[in-house]
Point group: C2
Chain length 157, copies 2
């Protein structure tokens, strides 16, 4: 528990540093393996013009580079705030062993970072969403899937 608090303290320190420096939103993330920090990330959305550069995504990408793997096997992830749906999706694809967070998404909403809209949209069927997506050319797309399915040399994941 003391170790966990030390790692979370570092994630929060990064969040604060990011806010104070003006580089981006007040969010930090730390990835730990075998009791050692292997990567960190801060929110870099406005600084790098990348809407996907949330602290978690930045830290996951760096940790995977450090490990030479597209999976965070045996890793723990410490987030200064509860991950948004994008980051939660990224975490599920990366498959760390455990995820910890400090502030809640409701806390984030009170300072203007509101992902409630995204959560609500994800729960609705496509056609009932506020920003509906339109489907076209499914049959053509399935050809690429069929090639994947029947290819013996693929790298599945």
């Amino acid at each position: 528990m003391e170790m966990q608090q030390a790692f979370m303290r570092e994630a929060i320190r990064i969040a604060m540093e990011n806010a104070v420096s003006g580089r981006g939103g007040p969010f930090g993330c730390v990835v730990v393996k075998d009791g050692r920090i292997i990567a960190t990330g801060a929110n870099e959305v406005t600084g790098t013009n990348d809407p996907t550069a949330h602290a978690e995504v930045v830290a996951i990408r760096r940790a995977c580079q450090a490990l030479g793997s597209f999976q965070l096997e045996g890793c723990e992830v410490y987030c200064s705030c509860e991950p948004c749906p994008m980051c939660l999706g990224a975490l599920y694809w990366a498959r760390p062993t455990a995820v910890y967070f400090a502030a809640t998404k409701e806390d984030a909403a009170t300072i203007g970072f509101d992902d409630h809209f995204i959560y609500a949209e994800l729960e609705r069927p496509i056609t009932a969403r506020e920003r509906p997506m339109q489907q076209l050319m499914r049959a053509e797309a399935l050809a690429a899937f069929e090639h994947w399915r029947t290819n013996p040399d693929k790298v599945p994941y």
Copy 2:
């Protein structure tokens, strides 16, 4: 509609090319502004050891670089497959005008790319999730939020 089909055809071509080349999964994405393709992306997860490098995330990042903006204002996004929760989150943060897709997430599941688990988890409260997240040190994290809230020089987004 003819324009839309041409753009989707390109997204599907990229998906097929990616599958045939073995560089990654059979997914492609195209970002369009003012009737012109400004960025494309293919799935690069296994090729670049980046679990966040889905076609949509790759294309969104490149399009934002091309525009010098962290928002896809006035853009349309064409995905060869229905976006996973991570990509859908990324799309909501990037705020394009419209999103089109071809194959469905059920089609993707039949060839081994199953994001149903992530959708199901997102709908559950944190403590009821199959992979629960643990909260700690909320009070400490709120200090960074308070700094953000009261900082007159921040770049909100």
